[in-house]
Amino acid sequence: MEYSVEVVELSRRSMEFRVGDIIYINGEVAFARDRVHKHLSLEREILQELVGLPIYHCGPIAVFDGVKYVFLAAGPTTSIRMDQFIEDIVSRYRTPAIIGKGGLGILGKNALKKYKSIYCDFPGGASAYATKRVKRVEKVLFKEFGLSEALWIVSVREFGPLLVTHDAKGGDFRHNLHLSKSALERVLFEQGL
């Protein structure tokens, strides 16, 4: 299925989405990566700006044009590095979706199931494509971490294609998708290796 969804609707509709679905989202999204995740998990006071927003794992290339920040590149970063922080953040911030690349580990997947949230893959490296779906940068927080590691609150329009790879029921698009290590001897034999 393909959906175009308002960010504010994501949470209420989270059980509708299944692995393999494509979603385009509209509204405010938080762009953040390693340092913000670590910081938020240590900081107990709730950051109001982040409550209810999807989090996109991204350290954009941002430049200040004299009036506002604009993104020149905004592809996803590898989500597994943030896995250990997902439960803490999703539970406290009611994060309706995590977006990134590569999927989460067992900790993150369990947290999504527990709090009925989803994970979506954005096409890796499609940086320019992503910038075209950014309407404007609303706010930047934690600039002291450097612009690549800051927390960006961003308005997006039809942001996607987001492929649902972990759904709120615990479904995992990647489950048993690849050959496993036990199949390697056969693969090598077939190629005469």
Binding site: L72, K101, H178, Q191, L193
Partner: protein, 282 residues
């Protein structure tokens, strides 16, 4: 202005915003031939993104990585000038947004301003090579799965192939497949890692001159592409675009194996002397 600053600025800009033609063609071919719908759609989006990047001079990927530079032949005598020009070019391009402020100190994780400092960028010298300055951007997605294993000298080619496949499985979609794999067998820990990386300068489809090695490359390529890792690890027939193998003389008691991955956004470029003029070539 230092004479190398402007040509390095142009070379790095081109490297950051355009994909080498051989890599682009290989991606297009992968997109045409990919039978899995998810992977096919991913590749279409990726190709669209590359087109926007080169048209609007936007970075292909926000991870502009660590820049490594290989100075060879007659250029080596200009090392100090090149290094100075390089550092200025990188600082300025970081300011203008062609490069992301990516480099930090290792423990405190504090930004290294302008991506220059604490031994970055990394520069290698080779007096004997052809006259060229080669540059490559190394993004962390791929680099985090680059590895060095010190094997027992008795390890056979079958076992080496298996270790390479295991590393590909371990890396999964995190190295942004369809990727390019550089392998070096032998040498020292340092020369192996370096050679597995510089192997990525060789064009997609270019085979080793040693027949046996060329055959091994192709067999590994087919083996990896049968793992169904696919584009971004979401399944598909194209997990890698190419495999490069380099053999290096080594110690009787050693067998280093180095593997370096390149994401699909393999950003590399070179400056060469054409007559007396420095020119940017792919």
């Amino acid at each position: 202005m230092n004479k190398y600053e402007s040509i390095l600025t142009n070379a790095i800009t081109k490297m950051a915003t355009e994909l080498p033609p051989d890599v682009y063609s290989a991606l297009e071919k992968a997109c045409e031939e990919e039978t899995k719908e998810v992977a096919n759609n991913l590749l279409k989006t990726i190709i669209q993104s590359i087109k926007i990047s080169s048209k609007e001079k936007l970075p292909i990927c926000q991870d502009t990585g660590l820049i490594s530079v290989y100075i060879s032949g007659k250029y080596v005598k200009d090392y100090l000038l090149i290094k100075e020009g390089l550092e200025r070019a990188i600082s300025k391009l970081t300011e203008s947004g062609v490069l992301r402020p990516t480099i930090v100190s290792p423990i405190k994780r504090e930004p290294v301003i302008g991506n220059v400092g604490m031994s970055e960028p990394e520069v290698y010298l080779d007096f004997e090579g052809e006259n060229s300055i080669k540059l490559m951007m190394r993004g962390a997605g791929a680099e985090n799965y680059s590895t060095l294993k010190m094997l027992l000298p008795s390890t056979n080619p079958h076992e080496i192939s298996k270790i390479i496949l295991e590393q590909v499985l371990e890396a999964d979609g995190r190295i942004c497949p369809p990727s390019i794999v550089g392998v070096a067998i032998g040498g020292s820990p340092i020369s192996a890692i370096l050679s597995s990386r510089t192997a990525l300068f060789s064009k997609i489809g270019e085979r080793s001159k040693v027949n046996e090695v060329a055959e091994w490359e192709l067999k590994l390529l087919r083996a990896i592409n049968s793992l169904n890792i696919g584009s971004m690890g979401l399944g598909g027939v194209y997990t890698v675009l190419d495999v490069k193998i380099r053999l290096l003389g080594t110690h009787i008691a050693m067998l280093p194996l180095a593997i370096t991955f390149g994401c699909w956004a393999l950003r590399r470029i070179q400056i060469k002397k054409v007559g007396n003029i420095d020119e940017i070539v792919w």
